[in-house]
């Protein structure tokens, strides 16, 4: 079984982002970039399925600027077999990414696409569901467990009330939640090996996809800051504050 995994290059989750003074976006110059954490989980799952003999090949795809090649090299070091960069400097919104991934899926014909549930920069939580819709495939979002059978996947999903299990016919799209697995670290020998793996570069034009953004960002601002609070000595003082100052209890 061939598995396709999408990986997005995002501002590292440890970085406290700053809004640009001119209100056009957030500062991304000289900021540490990493693979979207949910995509690390997606890739880890694919690698485990390969190690278990279920998957035969893992193809990783990233859409965006040239620097996404770094993210793809990391993915190859973690265990992907081949990489594809859909290279563009244009701003990519989830619908456009889903269309690019659809075009790639039609070329690669994977049985399963594993993606992150959410990119931690745009916090959209859309692309996987959109890809499934465009391909006419079923979807299982927010996965905390994936079991593959001959022609279907049985997926446990993290939902508002607890857990839900759905069975979806293959080919399908699955998006990952935090509890699916714990991603491994990249080792030096694997980083060396990854340099020899194939990395193909495509463009939206070559794939016949129009990526023109549908949303225009009018402005980006910092949210209102909370005013500094006070430290109180003990539980007794706290109860007094909550009852008499804040009046919340």
């Amino acid at each position: 079984m061939k598995i396709l995994v999408s990986v997005k290059r995002v501002v590292d989750f440890n970085v406290k982002v700053r809004v640009k003074a001119d209100g056009t976006g957030v500062e991304t110059a000289n900021v540490k970039m990493s693979m979207n954490p949910f995509d690390e989980i997606a890739l880890e799952e694919a690698v485990r399925l390969k190690e278990a003999g279920v998957a035969t090949e893992i193809v990783v795809v990233s859409c965006g600027v040239q620097a996404c090649q770094e993210t793809l090299r990391t993915a190859l070091a973690i265990g992907a077999d081949r990489a594809i960069l859909v290279n563009t400097d244009a701003e990519l919104q989830p619908l456009a990414v889903a269309k690019l991934l659809k075009a790639v899926s039609e070329r690669e014909k994977p049985q399963l696409v594993i993606m992150g549930k959410q990119a931690i920069d745009d916090d959209a939580n859309q692309t996987g569901q959109m890809l499934a819709a465009l391909l006419g495939w079923p979807q299982a979002t927010f996965a905390s467990k994936i079991r593959l059978e001959a022609d279907r996947a049985v997926v446990t999903r993290e939902v508002d009330g607890g857990l839900e299990t759905d069975a979806i016919k293959l080919p399908a799209v699955v998006t990952t939640d935090l509890r699916l697995n714990e991603p491994r670290y990249v080792t030096l020998p694997n980083i060396m090996k990854a340099k020899k793996k194939a990395l193909e570069v495509l463009t939206p034009d070559a794939l016949g996809v129009d990526v023109t953004p549908r949303l225009t960002t009018l402005k980006v601002v910092e949210p209102a800051k909370r005013k500094a609070g006070v430290k109180v000595a003990d539980a007794k003082a706290l109860v007094d504050k909550l009852r008499n100052d804040a009046k919340v209890i």
Binding site: P94, Q126, A132, A133, D160, L215
Partner: protein, 312 residues
Amino acid sequence: MAVLVVAEHDSKSVRKATLNAVAAAQKLGSDIHVLIAGHEAGAAAKAAAQIAGVAKVLHADAPQLRDFLAENVAATVVSVAKNYSHLLAPSTSNGKNVMPRVAALLDVQQISDIVAVEGADSFVRPIYAGNALATVKSRDPLKVITVRTTAFDAVAAAGGDAAVEKLAAPADSGLSSFVGRELSKSERPELTAAKIIVSGGRGMASGENFTKVLEPLADRLGAAMGASRAAVDAGFVPNDWQVGQTGKIVAPDLYVAVGISGAIQHLAGMKDSRVIVAINKDEEAPIFQVADYGVVGDLFQIVPTLVEELKK
């Protein structure tokens, strides 16, 4: 043109998140219709008809809609989309699952998790774990939107008297099927609807301590219980307790964070609470930067004393 709100319901009643989504829809100034997609959910459709400000309820009843599978619900929404200028749903796990599928089928770029309506085509939404707020303008003729429920005060569940209209559901996609559900049982208020939340982090050290130390506090306050990712990952409590960027977004009147450091991803889910209390032994913990009241010290001493003080 009217706007459509895809309701979150449990067949018998309409969940509160729907009332927040209707509140967001009201800002658009058009007639509001509500869709109840389900099976044997007539009671929920009746409840939806009573929501203040709702002009019409569409009730799609079919066995294949019972478990709210994305493929079938999305097809149902798409079947009526041409009658509407906006399609909205609350940002619940169902809303997040279904609406992007709807958007893609309609060739629309969804606007996720809006916190304000600036006009018929402009909306404010948080990005980067809420560290920035973006105002975006959509060029799509139809807008597909999910609504951050904490940002809109719920409309009244009663007072309306809308007509309920039957809607034929498209056939089962045959692509997916429901296998089972393991819902966490609790007598407590639901996390996203609670007025008071008591949340525990890694500092709780075990699931047992959640029961022994934190529960009595939640009981005293009539609070819902939440947790940080670290506490969920460690298996102390179920996944649906997670508050944060990638968990639940909450904004109660009072949020008590116990043994939680206050990582950006956690703050993203609770920093709009009205009053925040932090109990942490590390006085440098970032949670104190957003807390209205902080107590520095060992939670295993402070929390039991707090419970005693509350009894007085």
